[in-house]
């Protein structure tokens, strides 16, 4: 065997082994979560090898119907929490993406006083752990009456995600050849038109990944939701609501159904956005 074929086979084997490894550690828990949302935990404990729910358990869809039904109907009111989480996540994504796009463009392209300080300071905000600012924020938001509201939560999420979003977008903007924007100026666009018609379309992959990142943060965040909203069950977001299911009075299937509900949107979004990540949009525009 030559060294080339040996290396080729070795790397081939290592590649598939790592794929298999990551598949097992990611898919297996997911599969268990889905199974446990249909099948009572007692049954699973009796025979751990039988991981698939019976057809009848699956068909009934009961834990899901129970959990989604409103409380007045004897359910857990998850429909409401989905809506709450959706509102919070979508508004956070919108505000963060718009804000950080403009800020990142300015940081990447325009010259202004203090530009270097701003560039260096972007990530500084991110260096404070959430726990450190949680209590002061709790106090401040209580005083100004933002505590028991989704708005307060949105403000915190935006503040938390803008630095990283800005940083990611700025790095991406810097990779877009300046001459493309200059060509736009020559072709009659205004500075704003250049951003809208040239820079942003070319940045679709970066904007998509930033949006996905922000969505995941806002959708999954627990600490601030707990601090701000615990007294107001009407305003709970999904992570908080799922956490509240974790008591002995609630069947495990319901807790697991809640977990599945919280997981699925992120997975769907990821597959929708995947197309953007793999496409190299700027290739072919310039040479040299």
């Amino acid at each position: 065997m030559t060294r080339d074929t040996f290396e080729e086979r070795l790397f081939g084997a290592v590649k598939w082994m790592s794929v298999a490894f990551f598949l097992v550690i990611t898919v297996f828990p997911l599969l268990y979560m889905v199974t446990l949302s249909f099948k009572p935990i007692e049954e699973v404990l009796k025979d751990p090898t039988d991981i698939f729910p019976s057809w009848n358990q699956f068909k009934s869809f009961r834990p899901y119907r129970d959990i989604l039904r409103s409380e007045s109907d004897g359910g857990r009111g998850f429909m409401k929490f989905i809506v709450n989480s959706g509102i919070v996540a979508l508004i956070t994504v919108t505000i963060t993406v718009v804000l950080s796009t403009f800020a990142a463009y300015a940081a990447a392209r325009l010259n202004f006083f203090g530009k270097r300080a701003v560039s260096a300071g972007i990530l500084l905000v991110y260096m404070f752990p959430a726990v450190v600012i949680a209590i002061p924020l709790f106090v401040i938001f209580s005083r100004i009456g933002l505590r028991d509201s989704l708005l307060g939560l949105i403000i915190v999420y935006v503040a938390q995600t803008v630095p990283v979003a800005l940083y990611m977008l700025r790095s991406y903007f810097q990779t877009i050849p300046r001459s493309l924007e200059e060509a736009g100026l020559i072709d009659g666009l205004s500075q704003f038109g250049v951003i809208r018609k040239i820079t942003l379309p070319l940045s679709a992959p970066a904007v998509a990944s930033v949006a996905l990142y922000v969505f995941m943060i806002a959708w999954n965040e627990f600490l601030f939701a707990l601090l701000f909203l615990l007294d107001k069950p009407d305003l709970w977001t999904l992570p908080l609501a799922v956490q509240q299911l974790d008591t002995t009075e609630v069947p495990r299937t319901m807790l697991m159904a809640g977990s599945v509900i919280i997981t699925i949107p992120v997975i769907i979004l990821f597959f929708l956005a995947e197309r953007f990540f793999s496409e190299g949009l700027t290739s072919g525009g310039v040479k040299g």
């Binding site: 001459s179 493309l180 060509a183 100026l185 020559i186 666009l189 072919g284 525009g285 310039v286 040479k287």
Partner: protein
């Protein structure tokens, strides 16, 4: 269509770097003017100031009768072809070419018509629905041209548009650009560092160095009577041979000393360059083009003679280039690109060169006697570099 007038244009960057100084230049209506110079000489900066991509720090820029110093690019009615083409990667060729018209809100049917007309001029019809990523270098270059010509602008600005093409394609596109420009009659500024491109394309050529204009004239005048040492060394390929030489002018005789050799000058030469007398007893730079050197023979017995050692022979088929050493180093012209070559130890950059017919033969290390056409000798002030 318009005349472009640069009046003492200057550019100083915020960090204090002066890229262009006191540049005065007029590009007549319909003319193709080439701005040529070594890398980093400020020629691209000058073009970008005309385009409106770079702020003008001194002087006045007029397009037609209008001062445009503070107008934005879109208000100047210029079209530009970028060195790297700068095609919009997210648009098809059709959209790329028609983009300026779309921005200007030209009706769709008219855009379609003008795009197809431009595409037929540039032979791009079959590629209209491709993306730039799927095009070859030459095709991308033509799309970039298409984007410029579709607009009927007052001015074309071409920034080294051919430098990313291979040699063969470059010659073809050079002819193409020349044809299109003549056909449309648009005032054009063409920036390049390649003096061959400058000579073949330009109605007039402006040579620029370190942000300063050296000479602007028709290609032939630049070639025949360079205003200074830099232009002499820059225009022409292979370049003019230039040596430091001491001049002695007596009552009846005149000679120059090149290295160890004393070369007699004819009375006619001295008469042709009367100012040379002032340099008697001082150093000048003497120059002669490779094709103005001849092998000693009956028909040129009167010409000043120079003996030399052959260093390298390059037969090109139609002619032979003989690189030789007359025992004196070549004079520096201030072309940074050439200085880089000799700093790298490039032997050719150290040798003078002569051009002969293909039927001559030479051997390396052979001693030869060259004759210099006295009517084609150039003299430059060794200090300022200006032509005498």
């Amino acid at each position: 269509m318009a005349e472009v007038r640069l009046e003492s244009i200057g550019k100083v960057y915020p960090n204090g770097f002066r890229a262009v100084s006191d540049l005065s230049l007029t590009i007549s209506d319909g003319e193709l003017l080439v701005l040529v110079g070594p890398s980093g000489c400020g020629k691209s900066t000058a073009m970008r100031m005309i385009a409106g991509l770079e702020e003008i720090t001194d002087g006045t820029l007029k397009i037609g009768d209008k001062v445009v110093n503070n107008l934005r690019p879109k208000e100047r009615d210029v079209a530009m072809v970028f060195q790297n083409y700068a095609l919009y990667p997210h648009m098809s060729v059709r959209e790329n070419i028609g983009f300026a018209l779309k921005v200007a809100k030209v009706p769709k049917t008219e855009i379609a018509e003008r795009v197809s007309r431009a595409a037929s001029v540039l032979e791009l019809e079959k590629l209209l629905d491709s993306r730039p990523a799927n095009l070859s270098g030459g095709q991308r270059q033509r799309v970039a041209m298409g984007r410029a010509i579709i607009r009927n602008p007052s001015i074309f600005l071409l920034d080294e548009p051919l430098s990313n093409l291979d040699a063969k394609l470059r010659v073809k596109m050079r002819a193409e650009i020349s044809r299109i420009q003549a056909e449309l009659g648009v005032t054009t500024l063409y920036v390049t560092h390649d003096q061959v491109e400058a000579m073949t394309l330009g109605d007039r050529v402006a040579v620029i160095r370190d942000g300063l204009l050296q000479q602007v004239d028709t290609p032939q005048v630049l070639y025949d009577t360079p205003a200074n040492l830099f232009v002499a060394g820059f225009i022409g390929s292979p370049p003019m041979n230039l040596w430091q030489a001491g001049v002695t002018i007596g009552e009846t005789t005149a000679s120059v000393r090149i290295g160890e050799q004393s070369v007699e000058l004819e009375a006619e030469t001295v008469a042709r360059v009367p100012d040379l007398a002032e340099f008697s007893g001082r150093e000048v730079v003497i120059g002669i083009r490779p094709e103005d050197l001849a092998i000693g023979g009956v028909d040129n017995q009167e010409w000043p003679a120079l003996s030399a050692t052959v260093g390298l022979v390059e037969p090109l088929g139609s002619e032979i280039l003989v690189h030789f050493d007359p025992g004196a180093p070549l004079a520096a012209t201030g072309d940074p690109d050439m200085e880089d070559l000799s700093a790298e130890g490039d032997v050719l950059a150290e040798l003078a060169v002569a051009k002969f017919g293909p039927r001559e033969s030479f051997a390396i290390s052979e001693k030869i006697e060259l004759r210099m056409d006295p009517a084609r000798l150039h003299f430059f002030d060794a200090e300022g570099g200006n032509a005498i």
